[in-house]
Symmetry: C2
Subunit: 229 residues, 2 copies
DNA sequence: ACAAATTTAGACACTCTTGTCCAAATCGTC
DNA sequence: GACGATTTGGACAAGAGTGTCTAAATTTGT
């Protein structure tokens, strides 16, 4: 993909910068207006670029759209894996550590600009580009969910949790910590930080009531009046 | 809103039928193509009606869109409340009854045509019509979630569950039983029935591990080796 | 069968958008 | 300072879609 000329110097300088600002602006406009409603003139204006430059770089509205989705998928994946790397493998306070992880996942991967945009584009145009979004499904949930599941499996193996099926547990973990944000997500809004923390806290507590190995290790305190050895 | 003439006979006969078939076709097209991409000619064709009739009935693309959302909201609410009425207040087998309820909720309210369409329209155009979707939020989640929460509160009061906050529990219940369907929902797909049952089963099991009062009553069997009185 | 209301089909003006072309201005590099 | 590549702005053709209008056909109730 490099420039094919003599030395390995890339095409000029601001070239790539423009490409990026175009894709960036396009992401915003496609999300706000939908594919059909998105206006190339508007994208160009928001990117601070002439319309012709948009066509020079991407050729075509459809190709531009694809570039946007690919870019977003890549950037989101980077963020998600960086966050998964902070999963508490050997937790001190399991409850607090899982809450922290859930909040980071939300703030860095789901509620940030890229995450919001990618989600909306998938919801909005997913049916129109089956191949493109099949690709996303593989690269996105297809790789990140197992990665999270593996971390939960490790916690179970380490004796911190009692889990049958780590894949199910991972999906339920995500369902729980986002349970109170669904309506906001649906309308395309961004929850406030305290809402994210609240939802994560409630979700993790319930998660640990279901999967926590023993009250002594983790969280389940006031609720289980069930005496145990 | 009645016809203002002599007897209380409504305008002709097929009038209302046409209105409905227009709104119906419009719902489908708006979902597939988005508001901007939706084509009035296409809507008219799919409704089996001339374009002029569409304008006669609804005046305007925007007004037609609003009519679609209102119609869908109403119909979905009817379905949801009908389903909530089947909530197991005095369960025989709590696990099985809750799974049944979750499956009914999914099949009758979330995965059916109206539910799918309404969800997609909210996700797609929610930001463009703040008042309209504020209205939905009040009439939809604003009334159904508390209704579900009340049923869980009743189960707790009846000694079947141990719940702190019924509202949180209700949201988490929904999050859990849908945990495995998220990706499908996101792409606008319809999960197969066995997927719905699977997700509901796993979700309810986890829910009862967290909130079930005692293993004897419900489900938590093999996992809690914790001996109890 | 009659009269009123509704529906239809087609033409129409108008606006908006996409994508192309081109000459002038600008930028980055040597 | 000069050269080559990139960017710019504006004009342009072609197409598509909205909303209106009209006269003819059809349906509906009596």
């Amino acid at each position: 993909m490099r420039a094919s000329v003599s030395p390995d110097i890339f095409p000029p300088r601001g070239h790539e910068a423009k490409r990026l600002s175009i894709v960036d602006a396009a992401a915003g406009v496609f999300c706000r207006e939908g594919f059909a409603g998105a206006n190339i003139d508007l994208i160009a204006a928001e990117a601070g670029v002439s319309r012709q430059t948009v066509y020079n770089h991407h050729g075509d509205k459809e190709k531009l759209f694809m570039a946007v989705v690919r870019d977003l998928t890549d950037r989101c994946n980077v963020g998600i894996f960086a966050t998964i790397a902070t999963f508490p493998d050997q937790p001190g306070d399991l409850e607090a550590d899982l809450i922290g992880f859930a909040v980071r996942l939300n703030q860095n991967c789901i509620c940030n600009r890229d995450g919001k945009f990618l989600r909306k584009l998938i919801q909005t145009e997913g049916e129109r580009y089956p191949e493109l979004f099949a690709e996303w499904r593989e690269q996105g949930p297809g790789t990140t969910w197992p990665a999270i599941a593996a971390r939960f499996a490790r916690l179970a193996y380490g004796g911190y949790l009692t889990i049958d099926d780590p894949d199910v547990a991972a999906r339920q973990f995500l369902g729980l910590v986002n349970a109170e944000l669904q309506t906001t997500f649906m309308l395309g809004g961004t929850p406030r930080e305290d809402e994210v923390v609240q939802s994560a806290t409630n979700g993790v507590r319930t998660f640990l009531r279901a999967f926590g190995k023993s009250p002594a290790l983790g969280s389940v305190k006031k609720h289980t009046a069930l005496a145990n050895a």
